[in-house]
């Protein structure tokens, strides 16, 4: 038994260590030291990709969390339709990434998809989602926000975990409902917020499938959807520049790791812990 479990850990750790020896190119391993890293800093494509990825993460994670929380609050009422609603909101999670991306491309196509039709109906003049570089990334963002089933369920679990007594006491003490929300409800679900935040960040920094379906390896249109992962992929499998790709990957890893640690560090101060979570 112990042997088997060690087996599960070793590949994980091993690959991590292998990742350390990332300098050589594939095919003809050559040691070029830190040249790759320097090249990264100078590569304009990298700058664009970083900017895109950061924008993506900074926009999609908070919006998704807020929406998930709102949805969880709405779902928290027990009505006869609750089961139905939960199913509906969880369903997008199941849409395969590729399929979903394609559908979104179609839906957001001006003149073809319903999105722009609605917007025009409401009186806006909608942009060209697919071809306008300024908004193309937004399409991917929305695509990523759409499946918020998991986050919502996590929040819902948290909300339902608040004892009714405490909720009642808060009702008696809070003249305005939003006060109860800010001071009592939110602090008590901070573990869930933390969880969703970390997962969200890790995932959004590595977004790949949606971006590549949408914009190909060039980040159509005009590199607006070129995210970091796509760039890595391109470097590794299109240009076969393994070393470079590896360097990029390690940078990303470092950043994400740092960020995660940072969040956990600060978590002490703002997350409420129930006690030992066994």
């Amino acid at each position: 038994m112990i042997g088997l479990t060690v087996f599960t850990i070793i590949p994980l750790i091993l690959t991590f260590y292998i990742a350390q020896t990332k300098f050589p190119l594939s095919g003809a391993p050559k040691w070029i030291g830190a040249d790759n890293y320097l090249a990264i800093l100078n590569d304009p494509a990298v700058r664009t990709a970083v900017r895109n990825t950061l924008t993506f993460a900074v926009l999609s994670v908070p919006i998704k969390l807020v929406l998930a929380l709102v949805l969880a609050l709405l779902l928290n009422r027990a009505t006869k339709m609750s089961g139905f609603y939960q199913t509906v909101f969880y369903l997008p999670f199941l849409m395969p990434a590729v399929a979903g991306s394609l559908v979104f491309m179609l839906m957001f196509s001006p003149g073809v998809g319903p999105v722009n039709v609605f917007l025009e109906f409401l009186g806006f003049s909608p942009p060209d989602w697919l071809l306008d570089p300024k908004v193309a990334l937004w399409t991917v963002i929305i695509l990523n926000i759409w499946p918020l089933g998991v986050e919502t369920l996590v929040f819902l679990g948290g909300l339902q975990g608040i004892p009714k007594d405490v909720s009642d006491a808060a009702d008696l003490d809070s003249p305005r409902p939003w006060q109860k929300f800010v001071w009592i409800t939110v602090p008590l679900i901070t573990p869930m917020i933390l969880f969703n935040l970390v997962i969200g960040i890790i995932y959004s920094f590595q977004v790949f499938t949606q971006a590549i379906v949408f914009g190909g390896t060039t980040g159509r249109p005009a590199e607006a959807t070129l995210v970091y992962m796509v760039l890595i992929y391109r470097a590794a499998f299109k240009y076969f520049n393994m070393g470079y790709a590896a360097a990029m990957a390690s940078v990303l890893f470092g950043v994400v790791l740092l960020l995660t640690l940072l969040i956990f560090r600060t978590a002490r101060s703002w997350v409420y812990y129930e006690g030992e979570s066994r």
Partner: protein, 288 residues
């Protein structure tokens, strides 16, 4: 005390009614928005190309192009059926492997006691947080050198070693197995392996099914792995197949939609039949 006759009208009725109506109204609106992509995908799958790109939107295909389906399965350059089977094979094997390996690991973490157990477990959980990018490149190079590039081996083998996420999930369930059961078995002289197989596994059957389901859904939608390891169209699972088909021919939208539709359909159907289990699986996870 005598009850008061209906002279005092039910004070809360109008306000309550309005609240309920507006609540459901909002929820239904959201629901419609959320379901829109599914709806759109379905109707587009059965339209002609002209209809998709018509000047004004058609909400319902007319006539329903059933032959899109036929074309889909008979197209040469899009070996749909083959890829579908690939997906099934891929998802199925991974799910089985996961169930096997993760339950072993979870058993070890949850039911056995050994030194450093908690430490190793924390490490495993940290692996969860480890972004996949750190490891994929060297792993890829490794597999290529071993000559397994182009097969499903690199995609399935890791599953045999366990996945941190599922280990964590299963361990929660394993922790719930009463210790007396295990102690009794040990007293009877059963080896740990036997205990695992005959005693504990039946107990956590539901958990295994849940994990299996999650693994299936996750693998079915998996894209990156197959993308980098497989080269031939016939080998692709649906996710990659759909992608290559689409990026090759950007004009064949109805077919692409049909492909998307049938890629998504099995998952949706699976979900609808096993919802309860999905939700159970997520609920016990919210203990962080």
């Amino acid at each position: 005390m005598t009850p008061v006759p209906d002279a005092r009208k039910r004070r809360t009725a109008p306000r309550l009614l309005w609240q309920t109506v507006s609540y459901h109204g909002v929820m239904l609106l959201f629901a419609a928005i959320f379901l829109l992509p599914f709806f759109w995908m379905t109707i587009s799958a059965f339209k002609t190309k002209a209809q998709i790109f018509a000047d004004h939107i058609t909400w319902f295909p007319n006539p329903i192009q059933w032959q899109n389906v036929v074309t889909l399965v008979t197209r040469d350059d899009f070996p749909f059926v083959r890829q579908f089977m690939n997906s099934v094979f891929y998802a199925g094997s991974v799910a089985l492997a996961i169930c096997f390996s993760c339950s072993l690991a979870a058993y070890s973490f949850g039911c056995l006691r050994w030194r450093g157990r908690n430490f190793v477990f924390i490490l495993t959980v940290c692996a969860l947080l480890l972004p996949g990018i750190a490891t994929f490149l060297p792993t890829y190079i490794g597999w290529s050198k071993l000559g397994f590039n182009g097969t499903y081996v690199p995609l399935i083998a890791p599953a045999l070693f366990g996945d941190a996420f599922f280990i964590f999930m299963l361990r929660q369930f394993f922790l719930g197995v009463p210790r007396e059961l295990l102690d009794a078995a040990r007293l009877d002289g059963a080896s740990e392996f036997r205990i695992w197989w005959q005693i504990v596994m039946p107990q956590v059957r539901t958990a295994l099914i849940i994990v299996g389901l999650f693994a299936i859904v996750y693998t079915w939608n998996e894209f990156f792995g197959p993308l980098i390891y497989l080269q031939k169209k016939e080998d692709f699972p649906l996710s990659v197949g759909l992608f290559t088909f689409q990026s090759g021919r950007s004009k064949e939208w109805p077919l692409a939609m049909a492909g998307a539709f049938f890629t998504a359909l099995p998952m949706v159907v699976l979900f609808l039949f096993t919802q309860r289990l999905f939700r159970q699986g997520l609920n016990s996870r919210s203990l962080k």
